[in-house]
C-alpha cells in the first residue's frame, strides 16, 4: 500500500543533535528507575522471579537506545512566510501546520534536563486548544531567534497576539 502519489515533504530543519543526547540520557534514567523498581520487587516479594530481570533489562535498554534515535529522525520543523510546520513523534508521527496569521502566542520553555544540555522547547499556540505546535530540543540560541522571528511575522501578518484576542472569529487573509 502507501501508493499515494502526493505526500507532504518533511520540514527542512532538524532539531539540535544534542536533543538526541538529552533523550538518551532521560530515557536511560527512566529505564534504570523502572529496572530498579523491578529488582526491589524481586528482592522483597515472592511473586516476581530473578529470571524476569534480564529480558526486561534488554527490552528497556533497546527502548532507551532506539527511541531517541527514532525520535531524532522524525522531529523536524520549518517556518515559511505564511505557515509553521512541525513533525514530531516516533511510532505515531504527527505533522502540524498552522498559518502564521493565526498564531497567538509563542512560548520558549526550558525544562531541567533541557537546561543541562542548553536546549529549549518552542511552543506556538493558536486560538484552538487542540493545536499547539511544540518544537522540543532546539538549541537555545536557535530557539530565541525563532521566537523573535515568529513574533515579528505574527505581528506583521495577523491579528495582534494578546491575552484575549478576537482572532477566533476573524477571517484569515
Amino acid at each position: 500500500m502507501g501508493t499515494a502519489t502526493s505526500d507532504l515533504r518533511e520540514p527542512h530543519e532538524r532539531v539540535c543533535p544534542r536533543a538526541r543526547l538529552m533523550w538518551w540520557c532521560t530515557h536511560a534514567i527512566g529505564a534504570t528507575v523502572l529496572l530498579a523498581v523491578l529488582v526491589v520487587g524481586v528482592v522483597l516479594t515472592d511473586t516476581l522471579r530473578w529470571w524476569l530481570v534480564p529480558p526486561v533489562a534488554v527490552v528497556l535498554a533497546a527502548y532507551a537506545v532506539a527511541v531517541p534515535q527514532w525520535r531524532y529522525l522524525v522531529h523536524r520543523w520549518e517556518v515559511t512566510a505564511t505557515a509553521v510546520y512541525t513533525q514530531t513523534g516516533w511510532w505515531a508521527r504527527e505533522r502540524r501546520i498552522a498559518p502564521i496569521s493565526r498564531v497567538q502566542t509563542v512560548d520558549l520553555e526550558q525544562g531541567a534536563a533541557a537546561r543541562v544540555f542548553g536546549l529549549a522547547t518552542v511552543t506556538v499556540t493558536t486560538a484552538s486548544a487542540a493545536g499547539p505546535l511544540a518544537i522540543p530540543g532546539l538549541d537555545l540560541d536557535v530557539a530565541r531567534a525563532l521566537v523573535d522571528e515568529l513574533t515579528l511575522r505574527a505581528d506583521a501578518t495577523g491579528p495582534a497576539p494578546g491575552p484575549a484576542p478576537r482572532a477566533a472569529g476573524d477571517d484569515a487573509t
Binding site: A83, W91, T126, G131, G169
Partner: protein, 507 residues
C-alpha cells in the same frame, strides 16, 4: 460608602432575600454538623447560628459587590477583606447569558453571565452579575452585545424574548414536548440511574440495610424460574425508572425551548424551573454537530449542538441548540445555523477499502481475544458455559460495530464547510466553516502509514477545538485540506503543485 459614586452600582436590592438562601445552601453541610454537635453537647442557641450566619454573609456579599459599565469596560468589584475587581472590555464580550433559578424567578431577577471566551475556566474569572431585574438585564445585554458588534447600526431590542415578525426575528425551532419520548434513548438516563442507584446503595449501607436476595425466601418450588422472574421484573422496573427520570430531565432543561434568529445573533430560551437565555453572535457560530448516538438513530432522532468560538470550556453545554428531536428537525436547524442545508444532508465521500479493513481489524481484534479468553476460561476454570456464551456474543457485536463504523465514516467539503462523520455508538456529523479552520494536524502511526491512511484534524477555536477525519487516504486528506484552506498545505507538498483532480466526481 455611597452606592452610586463613579457609576458604581449595587446589584438589585432583592438579592438581600436571595443571598442568605444561597449562603444557607452552601453552608448546609457545615450547619447540619453544627446542629448535631450542638444538640449532642447540649448547648442551647447553636441552632440560631444556622439563621444568623447565612444572613450576615449574604448581606455582606450584597454590600461589598458593585458593578459598573464605564469607559468601554464592564467592571465587577467584590470582596470585603481581599477586594477584587474584574474588568472586561465591552468589545471583548462574546456571550451574555441570562439564567433564572427558581428563587430568582419568584422575585423577577436573573443572573447575568458575561462571557469573554477566555481560555481560563477558573470560577473567580467569570463575570457574573448575580441579581439584576429582568428588564435591566435585557437592556444591559442588548447594550453589551451591540457595542461588541461592528457598527452597522441595527436597532437593539429591549425585549429579545418574544419573537416579533416586524423586527426580522425568525423563529427557527419551537420544542414539541412529545419529543421527550426520545430522552430515554440517550445516555442521560443511565447516568441518572447510576446516580440514583449509587446514592440509594450508599444510604442503605449507612442505614445498615443489607440488600441480599435469598433464594429460599422466594415462593414456589421451581427456584430457577422464580429467580429469573425476579431478575426480569427488576430489569423492567429499572427501565421504567430510567425512562421516567430522563424524560423528566429533558422537560426540566428544555421546556418551552425557542430558538430564534435576529439580525446578527442566535437566541435560545429554555427551561422549566430555571430559565436560561443564551445569545450567540453569528460570527461566533463556526459550525454545528449533529449527534446521532445509536439509540437515537434507531428511533430516527438526533440532537444538535453548535460549534461556538469563545465559549468557555466549562460551559460547553450552552452550545446545545436542539435536544433529542426527530432527525429531520435537528438536521434542518443545523442547516439554518450553518447557513446552508447541504453540509447536513450531502452524501459523504467514503474512505476506501484500507479504512474499511482497519475498522474491521480494530473491532474484531479485541473481540477475538475476548472470545479466546472466554473459551479458555470455560475449559480451565469453573465458570461453566458462560465463557463460551461470552465468545459467541462478542464476535457478532464486534462485527456489527465494524460494519456500522465503516458505513458512518466519511467526509465532504461543500458550500464552504468541512463535513466529517464517524463513530457508531456515538456517531456524530461535524460541520465546520472552513474560515474557522486555524490549522491542520496529520497523524499516522506506522500501521496507518503502511495502509496509506492518515487521521486528519482541523483545529478550531470552538466546540471540541478540533474536527477529526479518521483514517482517510493520504491523498484525499491532502486534497481536502488544500481545498478547504487553499495555499496552506500545498506549499509543503513533496511536489509543490496543486493536487491532481480526483478520479471520481466531487460536489
Amino acid at each position: 460608602m455611597n452606592g452610586e459614586t463613579d457609576g458604581w452600582q449595587r446589584l438589585d436590592r432583592r438579592m438581600l432575600l436571595v443571598n442568605p438562601v444561597q449562603e444557607f445552601m452552601k453552608l448546609l453541610p457545615a450547619l447540619l454538623g453544627l446542629l448535631v454537635a450542638g444538640t449532642a453537647i447540649g448547648v442551647r442557641g447553636w441552632q440560631l447560628l444556622a439563621l444568623v450566619v447565612p444572613v450576615v454573609l449574604g448581606t455582606v456579599r450584597y454590600l461589598t459587590t458593585r458593578y459598573r459599565v464605564a469607559d468601554g469596560r464592564v467592571e465587577l468589584r467584590r470582596g470585603l477583606l481581599s477586594r477584587r475587581t474584574l474588568a472586561v472590555p465591552v468589545d471583548r464580550v462574546r456571550t451574555v447569558d441570562l439564567t433564572a433559578p427558581p428563587v430568582h424567578r419568584l422575585l423577577g431577577l436573573v443572573t447575568v453571565r458575561i462571557g469573554t471566551g477566555t481560555a481560563s475556566s477558573r470560577e473567580e474569572d467569570s463575570l457574573d452579575l448575580d441579581g439584576l431585574p429582568v428588564a435591566a438585564a435585557r437592556t444591559l445585554r442588548a447594550a453589551l452585545l451591540r457595542a461588541g458588534e461592528p457598527a452597522d447600526g441595527h436597532r437593539p431590542d429591549d425585549d429579545l424574548l418574544r419573537p416579533d415578525p416586524d423586527r426580522a426575528v425568525r423563529t427557527v425551532l419551537r420544542l414539541d414536548p412529545a419529543w421527550a419520548r426520545y430522552a430515554p434513548l440517550t445516555g442521560t438516563g443511565l447516568v441518572l440511574l447510576a446516580t440514583v442507584v449509587g446514592g440509594g446503595l450508599q444510604l442503605a449501607t449507612t442505614l445498615g440495610i443489607e440488600l441480599r436476595l435469598h433464594a429460599d425466601d422466594l415462593p414456589g418450588t421451581s427456584l430457577p424460574v422464580a429467580g429469573w422472574l425476579v431478575v426480569l421484573i427488576g430489569l423492567v422496573v429499572t427501565l421504567l425508572v430510567v425512562s421516567a427520570l430522563s424524560v423528566a430531565a429533558y422537560l426540566l432543561t428544555s421546556w418551552d425551548l425557542v430558538l430564534s434568529h435576529r439580525p446578527g445573533a442566535w437566541h435560545l430560551v429554555r427551561g422549566l424551573l430555571t430559565t436560561r437565555e443564551t445569545t450567540l453572535d453569528d460570527d461566533r457560530v463556526a459550525g454545528a454537530v449533529l449527534h446521532e448516538p445509536l439509540g437515537l438513530r434507531l428511533a430516527g432522532a438526533a440532537h444538535l449542538s453548535a460549534i461556538v468560538t469563545g465559549l468557555d470550556r466549562s460551559r460547553a453545554g450552552s452550545a446545545t441548540l436542539v435536544p433529542p428531536a426527530p432527525a429531520a428537525v435537528a438536521a434542518g436547524v443545523g442547516g439554518e445555523v450553518v447557513g446552508t442545508p447541504q453540509p447536513l444532508d450531502v452524501a459523504l465521500r467514503t474512505h476506501g477499502p484500507a479504512a474499511t479493513r482497519r475498522r474491521w481489524a480494530r473491532a474484531l481484534g479485541p473481540a477475538v481475544l475476548l472470545a479466546a479468553l472466554g473459551v479458555v476460561a470455560t475449559l480451565t476454570l469453573p465458570v461453566g458455559i458462560w465463557g463460551v456464551v461470552l465468545a459467541v456474543l462478542a464476535l457478532p457485536v464486534a462485527a456489527g460495530l465494524a460494519h456500522d463504523r465503516t458505513r458512518s465514516l466519511g467526509h465532504a467539503l461543500v458550500a464552504g464547510h468541512l463535513v466529517a462523520r464517524s463513530g457508531s455508538l456515538a456517531r456524530s456529523r461535524e460541520v465546520l466553516a472552513t474560515r474557522h479552520v486555524i490549522g491542520w494536524t496529520l497523524r499516522d502511526t506506522v500501521v496507518q502509514r503502511r495502509a496509506g491512511l492518515v487521521t486528519l484534524t482541523a483545529t478550531t477555536a470552538g466546540g471540541d477545538q478540533a474536527v477529526t477525519v479518521p483514517d482517510v487516504p493520504l491523498e484525499a486528506a491532502l486534497r481536502l485540506a488544500d481545498d478547504a484552506v487553499p495555499g496552506l498545505v500545498s506549499q509543503f507538498l513533496a511536489v509543490p503543485e496543486r493536487l491532481p483532480d480526483p478520479p471520481s466526481t466531487r460536489d
